[in-house]
């Protein structure tokens, strides 16, 4: 805890420039993520979008939610949730990404019929907007 008044942390008032700075940064990052999405970089698009989203999330947690000035125990609680979320992803995708065979969604397998009417090659049907 860098703050010198830990006993009265509820009296600590965050200087307003932190909030304005965070707000402006979030707007700029939103602009960047929309801009990047206008170009096709293949798989890099998702990577860039996620990096920008994580930076935005970090700004919101650190400054808007005050984690930067918060008690260590609250940080542990929150970061703990991210660790367990990571484990959730890790275990699921260690299976999903390395399957040699993926069961298709089809009537013969599960008796599930897709409700999507296929677009015909001649352009019948319409693409809604």
């Amino acid at each position: 805890m860098a703050s010198h008044n830990t006993d009265h942390s509820h009296h600590f008032i965050v200087p307003v420039h932190y909030y304005i700075g965070t707000f402006v940064s979030l707007l700029v990052l939103t602009f960047i993520t929309v801009l990047v999405a206008q170009f096709n970089f293949g798989a890099a698009n998702l990577v860039v979008a996620m990096i920008v989203a994580v930076i935005k999330a970090g700004l919101v947690v650190s400054f808007f939610m005050g984690m930067k000035w918060d008690k260590g125990f609250n940080r542990v609680a929150f970061l703990g949730s991210l660790v367990f979320l990571f484990i959730f992803f890790l275990l699921t995708f260690s299976d999903v990404l390395f399957r040699s065979y993926r069961s298709p969604l089809e009537a013969t397998q599960h008796d599930i019929k897709s409700p999507v009417k296929k677009l015909l090659p001649g352009g019948e049907g319409h693409t809604p907007h």
């Binding site: 006993d7 009265h8 942390s9 509820h10 009296h11 008032i13 965050v14 307003v16 909030y19 965070t22 707000f23 979030l26 707007l27 939103t30 993520t33 929309v34 999405a37 096709n40 293949g42 698009n45 998702l46 979008a49 996620m50 920008v52 989203a53 935005k56 999330a57 919101v60 947690v61 808007f64 939610m65 918060d70 008690k71 125990f73 609250n74 609680a77 929150f78 703990g80 949730s81 991210l82 367990f84 979320l85 959730f88 992803f89 699921t92 995708f93 999903v96 990404l97 993926r102 969604l105 897709s114 409700p115 999507v116 009417k117 296929k118 677009l119 319409h126 693409t127 809604p128 907007h129």
Partner: protein, 214 residues
């Protein structure tokens, strides 16, 4: 409103002092947010699984959403997070009227968000772009209904959080007008603030994942 009568806050008997009470409330709020992270986390895992399984379908499906609407809602939510945090700060500085104005602005932004969402939802419903067996549109991919299942589930639950947030902020407005919040006591404002920023946080991930697929 210069002569507001502040209500003195009485610390509950099981706390040593106001600081102890505040810190306990805040820890409780963070633990609640931890459960929220895991709750939404499960849906993000489902999203990851389906996107990995049907990448072309996601490309086709995201073109059926308007990224401009999504971007507009992102700007609205970021602005509402800013007004929320300024509202808490105003209470810390004993500026009751300013707190009310910031809360009101946050509520208006929230309704703006829901308004944009309502326009989007009605267009999707009109075109039959719905989850599972309710899907009635045409598509190149036969898995489009899965995308809209995720879309309505995730943005729907997020929207529910926004609606709950509006309710909480109206409650705060009343308490603020009563003079409950001041530099010595603003715990409910701070906690609703944390909740509201979490709602913003979820949208920060929903926006690129649904509207900016590639």
């Amino acid at each position: 409103m210069t002569n507001v009568r502040y209500k003195e806050h009485h610390v509950a008997h099981h706390f040593a002092n106001a600081g102890h009470e505040f810190d306990s409330a805040k820890l409780g709020m963070w633990v609640f947010l931890v459960t929220e992270v895991l709750f939404f986390g499960a849906l993000f895992v489902a999203y990851g699984f389906l996107r990995w399984s049907y990448p072309e379908m996601f490309l086709e499906a995201h073109r059926l959403l308007s990224w401009k609407m999504g971007a507009l809602n992102t700007l609205i939510l970021i602005s509402s997070s800013f007004t929320m945090v300024m509202g808490v700060r105003s209470a810390q500085l004993n500026r009751v009227r300013q707190t009310a104005m910031y809360l009101l602005a946050t509520i208006l932004f929230s309704f703006g968000f829901l308004g944009v969402k309502a326009v989007e939802y009605s267009a999707k419903i009109h075109h039959g772009l719905l989850p599972a067996k309710f899907f009635t549109a045409h598509g190149a991919s036969e898995h489009l209904h899965l995308f809209f299942g995720l879309y309505f589930t995730m943005t729907g639950l997020h929207g529910l959080h926004v609606i709950i947030g509006i309710g909480l902020m109206i409650w705060l407005l009343f308490r603020n007008a009563r003079g409950d919040f001041h530099s010595e006591y603003y715990t409910p404002l701070e906690m609703v603030g944390l909740y509201w920023h979490f709602v913003d946080l979820v949208w920060i991930f929903l926006f690129p994942l649904f509207y900016l697929v590639g």
